[in-house]
Subunit: 272 residues, 2 copies
């Protein structure tokens, strides 16, 4: 069965999209066509969306599901005239919250909501720049400023994880690749020994690593299963011997890996 879902907002649409995707993921037997429609902030834009909703309703033979975080009442009323099934995120929860907090929300006052990212902006950009500048062992003399240093073999997922932690949580994450040379002598590089409390290991199944490396350097020793298997085994042995927490990234998303790392390291998110 196929249904269409709309995530509609007068802002970025990220809240409607995140919640909507989580809710729809609970219905594993239904295939959803998901459409995000941000910045719907005028009656004209709302009327254009109503046409899209009604077209999807006709084509699916079923009501599209609408997740919205619209503040403006006039715009909400236009959408309510569509042939969609509305899940009303803000009004469901803001009334009980107003009661608990003894305070009226911007929503019920009719003011547009400004998500308070501006205070976080500088910190987040700084964290992203830190991750880029301290990627792949490029610089090691700023490790005292890092919140965390990921270590692992080449292509084990260190860079995307560092960037995600920077972008999403404002964490200063550096990463250092454990190369073949490091493995020969089976030692933690001197530059990392001083920062041992900040180290976190990433590992990965050798066959997955081999597949990833093959996309970069096909048919090389670097991407061979034998080499990947050797490196992963040596690195995992190092992690265990040095008591470095580590996680196997093979079956997790970047979000999951990042969230698990913060829990294991006891680091609080910095952007809230």
């Amino acid at each position: 069965m196929k249904r269409t879902a709309f995530f509609i907002s007068d802002g970025t649409g990220i809240t409607a999209e995140t919640l909507g995707q989580s809710l729809l993921a609970q219905f594993e037997t239904i295939s959803f066509n998901k459409l995000t429609r941000p910045y719907i902030d005028t009656p004209d834009k709302a009327r254009a969306i109503v046409q899209q909703i009604n077209a999807a309703a006709d084509s699916d033979g079923a009501r599209p599901i609408i997740f919205d975080t619209l503040v403006n009442q006039e715009i909400r009323e236009i959408l309510a005239e569509s042939n969609g099934f509305m899940i009303d995120i803000f009004s469901s929860f803001l009334a009980p919250l107003e009661h608990e907090l003894l305070s009226r929300s911007s929503y019920s006052v009719g003011k547009s909501h400004s998500i308070a990212h501006n205070t976080n902006y500088a910190q987040r950009i700084e964290a992203v720049n830190f991750a880029l500048d301290n990627d792949d062992g490029a610089r090691t003399h700023y490790y005292d400023k890092a919140d965390i240093i990921l270590i692992g073999v080449s292509r084990s997922g260190k860079t995307p994880t560092c960037l995600y932690m920077a972008m999403q949580f404002g964490i200063r994450a550096a990463n250092y690749p454990l190369t073949e040379e490091d493995m020969e002598c089976l030692q933690l590089p001197a530059v990392l020994k001083k920062q041992k409390h900040k180290l976190f290991g990433l590992t990965i199944d050798p066959d997955r690593l081999s597949a990833i490396r093959n996309e970069r350097k096909p048919d090389s020793n670097y991407s061979s299963f034998g080499q990947c298997d050797f490196e992963v085994r040596e690195v995992e042995r190092l992690f265990k011997r040095e008591n470095i927490h580590f996680i196997n990234s093979t079956h997790f998303s970047v979000e999951e890996i990042s969230a698990k790392i913060l829990v294991e390291m006891g680091i609080e998110r910095k952007l809230t």
Copy 2:
């Protein structure tokens, strides 16, 4: 007034956190201490969280607000015994959705929800790698594979925006810096002319640009207000003359800039 808010999940906590932050942002007069507690998947972990909630309740003299996306009923019941005020995200919306979709959710069946990021994983990592490889004009011969190419002066926010679009939406975003040399002749570089339909401009207030550049290269011509003002004016003139859509990044978050770019370029999100 100060209140504590907990975002509690048996997964990454991102849904509870995103929705909770949006809702709390509607209460501008209250200052919230926000704590995310992911991977609460055992009764023992739940009981430890109850202690944290009750400690916050004592210290604030008011009930902490709890946003949860817990699936397991036993764990939810332990949390319900705390001195917190629970906003129950899943159960509020899943019942009406089950009715509309004529289908039972994993939640009501008692199965843990798996957010379907795995199918998206490869595409997202590829997009992040594309952004890194095609950052700052480093490579231009893959521009035919790009979904979008951001252009602007140095430090106008191109790199974080490209990385965010890759990470959040799976968009292949390259970026090219317009340097002083490009400005002297006031021409679009040849390598960009061929890709004009993919170009999007970022601009920024000169005083903000000067402040950002000063952090990198203090007291340089590069970071002087005069130079920044000159570059921004020339680049905006170029955008207008060449009919290139552009946005001033000064007062927007990375999320907002990215979402607005997709709308203006008519590009659908690729990770849904």
